[in-house]
Symmetry: C2
Subunit: 334 residues, 2 copies
DNA sequence: ACGTCGGACGTCAACGTTGACGCAGAGCCG
DNA sequence: CGGCTCTGCGTCAACGTTGACGTCCGACGT
């Protein structure tokens, strides 16, 4: 366990060549064994494998990708890792990638389209095979630009029109409908929504579908999609529409902020006011009251995104957009 | 914005050579301009830059790292990204790396030492410059093995003895002392701890220091360092020591689980029982009651870890272990 | 006029690996 | 025995870049 002071700090890494010399074959043969291509005898295989173990040889994936132009590497670009939803999703994607022997570059755009483009550029230089992207609110042509340059992209919950971009979306429309139905069957009549104010109109899927299901004078308050945003939006709502008896939030984090605001205003949840979130993040179950929410299956979404990227890599035609189903999880907040 | 159907799906990426041909100079000169090495005239520089823009040239970092054996890439290996503490920390590290122009490979060991070693191996093959590691509970020689093979590693909150491993630790001892003092000055007399049962004895820093500050018969309940673990540990504690009036938890997530258990058992927090967590995750402020906690500064910790890795890369001697200071944040739960 | 110096390039090899191809010998068939 | 295929290798170039070094030319000093 202790340290050998005579050992160099950066020992030379063994190469195919070193292994080849030790065995007495050509590097090409060693390569064949490493990649199990066939074209060698069992005896050679054994000797090569022994030498590899002895020298602690590990293939240099950089050199390999240079020649194969394939890196088994993907980029994951999200807007904010502090949001548990993204963290859980990053987990799902990382797992799915790991299962396929791929490594994941993680990058955070902080919801800024310029940063996003810069990251896409840098990661493209890194020769990732593709990217899984949660686009920034106002990201429009950046991703298309890079797709055109040859970067396969999976865009989550956003539409982009390019052969090199595959869209994976959750069935939010269905989710919103479930939530609204649920609130109505529980006798709620004066609904409201707290939504993400940063999105451009064409990306307000939750909001637009919600509006289509409720009366036109139903209040919709916009704010940042954070807990602070949820808190502030809820306070505004209480001021302007003190009689609402149910709130549907853009995501769980906003819903949690809203719960805090209601608590502060002595509105009991769910007695006085019901709250439905969206995402199903882990902490939702730990709150008093536990949060009713539209559940996005992180694992499934991650698996789907990675699978979709793989298809994009192999298929020649544009893959169809994929919709991941969604459920309502009823807990104590409604 | 629309798609040009005549465009190939995987356009050839421009290389130094293409740029050179367009300008009428040698690739070496283009390389000099790209890296701003000097040794070219202003006129040439302009023409090269124009050609680069025209061809949309981007340097191939894979080829560059092959020749420079430096990838500006680091590996971040954590045990569990669902724990908001790690998510927030991953954020800090990612930011710090981005500031330095480095990209981050994210990998999750799921707290398994074998997975951890496999990941280290794979990422070493990817030629990362170094790794930032949150070791799995029972990880001992894996990291040392890779350090010896030449991988610079920053280990967080764990001691490893090798020139190629630099340890960054938070001043948990001080934090625990602050927490215990705080509880005592608030008149709490019957303390208890909920701790992580998975750690080997030499890594139980919080627990050991806590024990050193309290009476020997102070109850310490072990469980998984998750919210469920915290919940269960709290229930056990209520059964075995119904008279405790303050609980110190291994981390915030366990503390949150404990809050749920206390609520269920109709123990009011903080009136009947005070709760202190550790980490200062974001949701801690949103709970009723907001959680008093030992604050680890994620940004600072991330920045320190990356800085430490950089020093490890350049320095020839083993960098000293670094201790990051810690604070107590008092909120409503005590 | 000659030497010298420095600026602005170019040339070549190398990084570690794999794709394309070549080749010798064994085995088999007619 | 000639021709064929198959096995088990080896050779060579290429991937895109940079390090080391060479070259040409103009300026400058004496």
């Amino acid at each position: 366990m202790a340290d050998d002071p005579s050992a160099p700090k950066r020992p030379q890494k063994a190469t195919l060549h070193d292994v080849a010399d030790l065995v007495g074959v050509s590097p090409r043969t060693v390569s064949r064994v490493v990649n199990d291509e066939g074209g060698f005898s069992d005896a050679t295989r054994e000797r090569v494998l022994d030498a590899i173990a002895e020298l602690n040889y590990r293939p240099n994936l950089v050199a390999r990708s240079l020649v194969t132009s394939q890196s088994n590497t993907l980029a994951l670009i999200i807007t904010d890792i502090a949001d548990p939803f993204f963290a859980e999703l990053a987990n799902g994607i990382q797992q799915a990638a790991q299962r396929r022997g791929m490594s994941v570059f993680l990058a955070v755009s902080e919801n800024d389209a310029d940063t996003e483009s810069e990251l896409l550029g840098r990661l493209m230089s890194q020769a990732v095979d593709g990217a899984i992207l949660f686009p920034a609110s106002h990201s429009i042509d950046g991703p298309i630009h890079f797709a055109r340059l040859g970067l396969p992209i999976v865009a989550v919950d956003t539409e982009f029109d390019h052969d090199n971009i595959c869209c994976v979306r959750s069935d939010l429309e269905h989710g919103v409908a479930l939530a609204v139905d649920h609130l109505r069957t529980r006798g709620r009549r004066r609904l409201a929504m707290l939504t993400n104010g940063n999105l451009p109109p064409h990306r307000r899927r939750r909001e637009n579908h919600f509006r289509s299901l409720v009366a036109t004078d139903t209040p919709v308050v916009t704010a940042d999609p954070t807990s602070t945003g949820g808190y502030e939006a809820a306070r505004t709502l209480l001021d302007t529409h003190p009689d609402v008896d149910a709130v549907f939030a853009y995501n769980d984090v906003m819903a949690i902020g809203a719960l805090a605001a209601f608590r502060e205003a002595d509105r009991r949840v769910p007695d006085d006011i019901a709250v439905v979130g969206c995402d199903d993040i882990a902490v939702g179950t730990l709150l008093p009251p536990a949060l009713t929410t539209i559940k996005l299956d992180h694992e499934r979404l991650g698996e789907t995104a990675v699978a979709c990227l793989q298809e994009l890599l192999t298929a020649t035609t544009r893959p169809d957009p994929i919709t991941v189903p969604i459920d309502l999880v009823v807990r104590a907040s409604t």
